[in-house]
């Protein structure tokens, strides 16, 4: 079972995403406080991180950059998650694997997550 770490400061969305992913066969850890992300990564060991961009006090893009430049975590794929569609342009810059816009289409949402995990795993 693939493990996904979801980070979003909006509790409603966090609950929704957790439920949607759980119902579709993922193991999910959902956190609303970005400060806990490193603890969660080392404890939960996710196969993918779904990361909100505006995290109330922190920029998801900066966090992504840090994850991607740390040796222990750089292999974990990150998907940026935002209502601001302009953020799609910055995925290359912060080395994220994909972007999902809010509001999302459930089908598309699951497709992106599945294909990102698939691409990140060695054959």
């Amino acid at each position: 079972m693939d493990k996904i770490l979801v980070v979003d400061d909006d509790i409603d969305i966090l609950t929704l995403v957790k439920m949607s992913l759980s119902l579709n066969g993922f193991k999910v850890e959902a956190i609303s406080k970005w400060e806990q992300i490193y603890k969660s990564i080392s404890g939960f060991v996710p196969d993918l991180i779904l990361l909100d961009v505006s995290l109330g006090g922190a920029d998801g893009r900066e966090i992504c950059k840090r994850i991607k430049t740390t040796t222990e975590t750089e292999h974990i794929p990150v998907i940026l998650f935002s209502a601001n569609t302009e953020m799609e342009k910055s995925i290359g810059d912060c080395k994220a694997q994909a972007f999902i816009a809010k509001p999302y289409e459930l089908g598309h949402f699951l497709d992106v997550i599945k294909s990102t995990i698939k691409h990140s795993k060695p054959n």
Binding site: I13, L16, M19, S20, L23, A83, K102, P103, E105
Partner: protein, 454 residues
């Protein structure tokens, strides 16, 4: 006007100058002749006392050398008889009448007449009468008039030149300002500032314009910021609503519950599109709408869009008349899709009770021409261009249409940014929307395709 004014001013000054000059000359002449008369009168006392005509004549003849402009000179004695006379070679007869009015100097025509009493110890012994030729004055007058005319002409030409240069400078700046203002009203882009260091009224006007634009920009910026925040705040709860509805949709199999969920989802999709349109307009106005240009196959995009529409539209059949085969274009795929979706949903929206929408595409020179035709209520002729304006809603009250009236405005902006054009025409029944996209010459055909259009 300036030319006219300056000519009048110059003529007035020239007139005053000439008049003063002539008056001056006359005064000087009268004085110098009077002093000559005085000298002659002083020298004539002795000849008169001794009745020495020859000596008197000699004095007068001296005038030939000293004052060649004296035409006639006469000395009369106390009985008014001519005592001595001198006449220049070309002189006419001396008219005594000019000396009888009692004045000592008199200008008459081209002559000056001067008389001087010859007094010896308070006893009048006779008079010296002089007639002076003033042709020198005529020459001076003539040259002054000539100078005045030349001066006038020069002033006219000069003031015309200066006026036209100044005018061109003024009107150039004014026209530039008008041009900028037109641009602003057409494009709605307020990011214009005019650089002008003029200290005159136009400079003030331009400064006022710049300040105005600055204020507009500031309020635009606030509005954009507001729309940005508002749409983010709107999108976040919408994400929950949409997400939960999607979840419910996958779990709920009972009718009519599933149908209710579907209806709620459709409304959420509409709301989502409205928020997206508002954001797009705000981006267009602040010049932040950027295209993500990539090469893609336009046929594929048209087919995909039609198919996705066909899945949700139960009322209409979208027919594609094929004219293209694997046409590659360089454009923003998502934005072109947005245009197609807009035109198709308009076609369906504005043709209630009909069941057909036609999509045609063909190559037209170095452009692709795409047509979306409906058989609906049509567009009034005077509305054909207005429909692309912001917040424009049809005046046709026979249909109730929802939305902000932003769709076509956004479409026009997207197509224009791609270097294409978009327009609408009236059809016998319904209307057609056309848009063009430029094709890059080196990317028109897909060589691996069997259906090459060559």
């Amino acid at each position: 006007m300036q030319v006219f004014t300056s000519i009048i001013v110059v003529s007035i000054f020239a007139g005053i100058f000439i008049a003063t000059d002539i008056k001056d000359y006359k005064t000087r002449k009268a004085n110098s002749v009077a002093s000559i008369a005085h000298i002659i009168s002083a020298n004539s006392i002795t000849p008169l006392l001794f009745q020495d005509n020859n000596e008197a004549k000699k004095i007068l003849t001296e005038l030939k050398n000293t004052s060649p402009d004296i035409v006639n000179a006469v000395i009369i004695d106390s009985a008014a008889k001519i005592f001595a006379i001198y006449s220049r070679v070309d002189a006419g007869p001396l008219e005594i009448s000019h000396f009888l009015n009692g004045k000592t100097t008199e200008f008459s025509g081209k002559q000056l007449f001067v008389s001087e009493n010859i007094m010896n110890e308070k006893q009048l012994m006779g008079k010296v009468l002089l007639e002076v030729d003033l042709s020198e004055l005529e020459a001076i007058k003539k040259s002054r008039y000539e100078m005045a005319v030349i001066l006038l002409l020069a002033a006219a030409v000069l003031s015309f030149l200066i006026a036209s240069i100044v005018q061109r400078y003024i009107s150039r700046r004014l026209l530039y300002l008008v041009d900028k203002m037109k641009q602003v009203s057409v494009t709605g882009n307020y990011n214009t500032t005019i650089v002008d260091n003029g200290k005159d009224e136009i400079g003030t006007l331009i400064r006022v314009y710049n300040n105005l634009m600055e204020q507009v920009r500031e309020s635009q910026h606030k509005k954009d910021e507001f729309i940005g925040i508002a749409s983010h705040e709107l999108k976040t709860p919408l994400t929950s609503i949409k997400g939960y509805l999607d979840l419910l949709n996958t779990m709920e199999e009972r009718q009519p519950n599933k149908q209710f969920v579907q209806k709620a989802s459709d409304s959420v999709t509409k709301l989502e599109r409205l928020i997206k349109d508002l954001l797009d307009v705000s981006k267009i106005q602040s010049g932040q709408l950027q295209l993500n240009i990539k090469e893609f196959n336009i046929d594929e995009l048209i087919n995909e869009t039609i198919n996705s529409f066909q899945m949700v539209s139960e009322s209409h059949t979208i027919v594609k008349e094929d004219g293209l085969h694997y046409e590659q274009v360089l454009a923003d795929r998502q934005r072109i899709e947005q245009v197609l979706i807009n035109l198709l949903s308009n076609a369906i929206k504005y043709s209630p009770g009909e069941n057909k929408v036609l999509v045609k595409s063909k190559r037209d020179g170095d452009h692709l021409l795409i047509q979306v035709r409906d058989y609906g209520i049509g567009i009034a002729k005077d509305e054909l261009s207005e429909i692309f304006e912001r917040f424009y809603r049809t005046k046709d009250s026979s249909v109730h249409i929802s939305g902000f009236g932003l769709g076509l405005y956004i479409c026009r902006d997207i197509i224009t940014r791609h270097g294409g054009t978009i327009w609408a025409t009236k059809e016998p029944k319904g209307s057609s929307f056309y848009f063009t996209l430029p094709i890059q010459q080196n990317s028109v055909t897909n060589p691996s395709s069997n259906n090459s259009n060559n």
